[in-house]
Amino acid sequence: MASESTRREQSPVRPGDVGRHALLIALALLSLFPLLLTVSTAFKTEQDVRVNPFGLFSTFSFENLVTAWTVGSFGDYVLNTFILSVPSTALVVIVSTMAGYAFARLPFPGRSLAFYLVVLGLLVPFFTYMIPLYFQLQGMGLLNTLPGVILVLTTTGLAFGTIFMRAFFSELPPELEQAARIDGASELQIFTRVMLPLVSSGAGALAVFTFLQNWNNLLVPLLYLPGGDFRPLTLGLYVFLGGRGIDIGPLAAGTLITILPVIALFILLQRQVTRGILAGAVKG
């Protein structure tokens, strides 16, 4: 307790607590305003949207949500988003954990070359190779297919995932594996029984972080799912936006459907998300 109060003293900016909170609340509201606008518009009546589209919380109705969910196919989009995000997230976590362990603790020929190739993925923006990848997928028969998009999504997450998991494995003390080895464990057993359980919190953070990335991805489905099957929320919203005859109400409802799971996940698993982001920033 004592240390807490002394630490508080250290803050270099001390406009007084009331003033500070007032300022923070104002800034937080500014930060959340677009969100409020979305919620407010999504719950307006159709009539109110037409007359007063952006007035805050002037009426209340579920009709926009119903329209977006049924007529706007956002119900399907939610399902599709899960169909795309869940397998690719699982693959990123599994494949990165395997590779991260190997890069951290197992000497093998070609290790540094392989590692550089993986790390290169953090340096090169996706749009550098998105165009040739389109034609490549087409040639492989993977364009417009679920496996194609899932594999691409997985690969875009691997560079970060591998480095992230490698850091966790590197921190584990070498005594652990030595002890296991003396107990007669095989190398595979050391990985699966001894090491793996110790990085589960890291894998969890990676899973949450990757899931958010995949959920939010627009370009990959936009480019590689041209046929309109398995269209996820982001793409659905983009297409919805592109259709010029669309009312603002259902558009707001669609936006809300797209962001609500993201926000819910974030609030529930804040620690993991923040941890992923922090590590993601340090990645360079």
Binding site: R50, T67, V71, G72, S73, F135, Q138, L143, N144, L225, P226, G227, G228, V239, F240, G242, G243, R244, G245, I246, D247, I248, P250
Partner: protein
């Protein structure tokens, strides 16, 4: 608005998409090639085949239902043929349809835009089935001018899309209240705009946030200025795009903007907002196309539709074609595909287009007894006189030009509306695009 449109059809949606997307390629109704399974049993008279028909995806998938019902009627009448209807968004069709067709995995029949930027590009790449013989054999009654738009190198490669006109919608009641007559010259239009502006109402709800509207703005002002023949000369390359007439047509919009006849920053006003400004009574006129007719919501005023005026007269409507069916060169069931296209050109299907889709087929349809709005009746009459070659019509530029040209045109109009370019510079940018 969206809801009123639902239940209409994919063709319409395709038009919209075409329009929206800058009229580059509106794929509406393609079919796809073939799972060749049923092809074999063809020996006798009956034509068989499983066809894939690809159209542009409407916003609301339910809009495909009426078309699906038509296809079922066709299948019932042709027991050997099945047609699988597919839909894909316009933007993805633009990038993927051509590679698909080339790979042989594409549809058997597909809807795609008429004109050189669309069907012409595909024909050049050898992706289209030659319909020249089929036209003679089946005697398809497609209007000659429309057939010209799908004729490349002397061969007829497809069926043209539905007909559309572009002009000015106006609030008849508001005009009457203000004592303004329907403008029949450019000067009258300006006077009307001045009077409306004085009432604190936006005279002309120009919307150009998306950019493609610029092609329509130029098309209508230019068509009325140079006439149908003048438009043909420009589109055929006999006249240059930096001619004084083109500059003058651009200048018309620039000066309207400067005079405050358009909404503030028209390049920030999107299609929807432009329409709602008009429907809500906040704007008195709206530049748009005949497709809007079936999209007009319940409004408490009468809506009129006139051509953009010329300097010395009422001007002419701008006319263009949407997208219509083509057959893939790679189809494994050309006979079945021809039967299907034959159905898409039949009087029954034509009446379906008029009644259900509220669009105008590129071939004569007996509209007696159809239940359509008076405004649509006017549009029907306008376009059929166009089709019959009686009236004079201008041309919608973007459906007749290449994508690069369209890009220059759309940028040009946005440029003059934002002061980034002069009318001369915009015209020169269009003239500088290499003809392809």
């Amino acid at each position: 608005m969206a809801t009123s449109r639902s239940g209409r059809l994919p063709l319409l949606a395709a038009i919209f998409a075409l329009v929206m997307a800058g009229c580059t390629g509106v794929p509406n109704a393609p079919s796809s090639t073939a799972d060749a399974s049923a092809a074999a049993s063809d020996g006798g008279g009956e034509i068989t085949g499983d066809l894939r028909y690809l159209v542009e995806a409407p916003e609301d998938p339910a809009q495909l239902d009426p078309l699906r019902a038509q296809i079922e009627a066709f299948e019932a009448a042709n027991p050997g043929i099945t047609v699988e209807l597919e839909a894909a968004p316009l933007d993805t069709l633009r990038t993927t349809l051509q590679p698909q067709l080339r790979s042989g995995e594409g549809p058997d029949v597909f809807n795609w835009g008429s004109g050189p930027a669309f069907g012409g590009a595909f024909a050049e790449a050898g992706l289209l089935y030659d319909l020249t013989e089929a036209y003679e054999q089946y005697d398809w009654p497609v209007y000659g001018f429309a057939r010209d738009q799908v004729t490349f190198d002397g061969k007829v490669m497809g069926v043209p899309g539905e007909m559309e006109t572009i002009g000015l919608f106006y609030n008849v009641d508001l005009f009457e209240d203000l004592g303004i007559a329907e403008p029949t010259t450019l000067a009258e239009l300006e006077a009307a705009a001045e009077a409306i502006k004085a009432e604190d109402i936006i005279p002309i709800a120009v919307h150009d946030a998306e950019g493609w509207q610029g092609g329509h703005l130029l098309s209508m002002a230019l068509s009325s200025r140079v006439g149908g023949a003048g438009m043909e000369a420009l589109l055929n390359g006999e006249e240059s795009w930096d001619s004084p007439e083109v500059v003058a047509a651009l200048e018309t919009w620039r000066s309207f903007n400067e005079a405050g006849y358009l909404p503030p920053t028209p390049t920030a006003v999107d299609y929807d907002t432009g329409n709602s400004l008009f429907f809500s009574g906040e704007a008195a006129m709206l530049p748009n196309g005949s497709w809007l007719v079936n999209d007009i919501p319940e409004v408490d005023f009468e809506v009129g539709y006139i051509p953009f005026p010329a300097e010395d007269g009422p001007g002419i409507f701008t006319a263009g074609l949407g997208s219509g069916p083509y057959i893939s060169a790679n189809t494994e069931h050309p006979e079945a595909a021809l039967e299907f296209v034959n159905y898409l050109v039949s009087p029954d299907f034509g009446r379906f287009m008029v009644e259900e889709l509220t669009v105008i087929p590129p071939f004569p349809v007996d509209t007696a007894g159809t239940d359509v709005s008076p405004l649509f009746t006017q549009v029907l009459e306008d376009t059929s006189s166009f089709a019959g070659g009686e009236g004079e019509f201008g041309a919608n530029i973007d459906v007749r030009s290449t994508e690069l040209f369209n890009e220059a045109m759309w940028n040009g109009v946005q440029g003059i509306l934002t002061g980034q370019m002069t009318s001369e510079e915009a015209a020169q940018a269009m003239a500088a695009v290499p003809a392809e």
